[in-house]
């Protein structure tokens, strides 16, 4: 039997300082990597060139949702069986990709969401303000889409072929994390949550979603 082709899609925007580490971790685990440079002003390709990755570059910065979509289009073109969404900023652990893809390989569901709240030990380190924002986002998503996940905005996900075909982001920016739920619901995809650890470095804390940004996401959703 042929091994399923797993592609890890990594959208990146000006994250040069951590990208090197993220890519070398992923390469060490032998995954196919699709790196999507979302119009960075930094020279991402100098780092990308050092690794065996598929490299795509947006001429302009159009947003993480759009970059993921470009990566998924490329993955589909390359014949991917499974696509993993993976953040470039080093908050996800390449070791956990096997865990998040496992339910797909066993055909237990079509899409797997990573959750930082299913594991008690990892949730200890989540900043308090972030916890509140994420709790609010959960219930807003539930209100809109009828899907209550334990972690509303986790960028660590895995999709099988069926999900890749049916999920297409129109929300260019961060609204895609909620949009994906509406698509899951609409296409009746089977979903599961798997505990993952999120590493909060000073870097990702600075870069992550803050309260004001969540308000933006909320309005992106209601005005789409």
């Amino acid at each position: 039997m042929q091994l399923p082709k797993i592609f890890v899609v990594v959208p990146v925007f000006n994250e040069v300082t951590v990208l090197d580490q993220t890519l070398s971790d992923l390469v060490a685990h032998n995954y196919n990597i699709i790196l999507v440079d979302d119009g960075s002003t930094d020279d991402i390709d100098i780092i990308a060139r050092k690794y065996p990755v598929f490299f795509l570059k947006h001429l302009l910065n159009i947003g993480q949702g759009a970059a993921l979509q470009t990566g998924m289009d490329a993955a589909r073109f390359l014949g991917a069986d499974i696509v993993v969404h993976f953040d470039a900023d080093g908050q996800h652990d390449a070791m956990e990709i096997c865990r998040i893809t496992d339910p797909l390989l066993k055909n237990r569901c079509d899409i797997v969401f990573g959750s930082r709240f299913l594991q008690n030990n990892s949730s200890q380190s989540i900043p308090f303000s972030k916890k509140i924002v994420l709790q609010a986002a959960r219930y807003i998503n539930y209100l809109f889409y009828g899907i209550l996940l334990s972690d509303a905005h986790n960028g660590f996900r895995a999709l099988n072929r069926k999900a890749i075909q049916q999920i297409s982001f129109t929300q260019n920016r961060m609204g895609h994390a909620s949009e994906i739920l509406s698509l899951v619901k609409k296409n009746k995809l089977r979903y599961l949550e798997v505990p993952v650890t999120i590493r909060y470095s000073d870097y990702s804390r600075k870069k992550g979603q803050n309260i004001f940004n969540s308000i933006n996401i909320f309005f992106d959703l209601i005005t789409k």
């Binding site: 598929f54 490299f55 795509l56 470009t70 490329a74 260019n172």
Partner: protein, 117 residues
């Protein structure tokens, strides 16, 4: 209910519905612009008309009537521009994506600038 209330409510309703339904129909925009222009011209030429119309509609002064109407029309214009911007944004991301996919490079195979076919 005063006449003006009814009209403003109706205008808001039309705004609301047209935003979701006929927004991309440029002909409606053109007709509206012509109507606004004609109304503007006649109100400038015969200012008393605004007062008369205002009287009929239950608004105190003609100037107040114009203000109410302009608020409604500005809202309409803002929504129109918003939808155009959204549309452009979608087209732009489509183009950027196509360009990116066309220029995909496979760094595991090539060490130079050769592009993947």
């Amino acid at each position: 209910m005063k006449g003006i209330q009814l009209i403003l409510l109706l205008a808001l309703l039309i705004l609301f519905i047209s935003y979701f339904r006929w927004f991309r129909n440029a002909a409606i925009d053109k007709v509206l612009i012509v109507l606004i222009f004609l109304a503007g011209v006649s109100f400038v030429l015969v200012p008393d008309w605004t007062t008369k119309i205002a009287d009929v509609l239950g608004v105190g002064r003609g100037a107040d009537l114009l203000m109410y109407l302009s608020i409604v029309s500005f809202t309409y214009i803002v929504l129109l521009l918003y939808s155009k911007i959204k549309k452009l944004e979608n087209q732009l991301s489509d183009m950027v994506r196509r360009q990116a996919l066309g220029g995909m490079q496979d760094f595991s195979k090539v060490k130079n600038d050769d592009q993947l076919k």
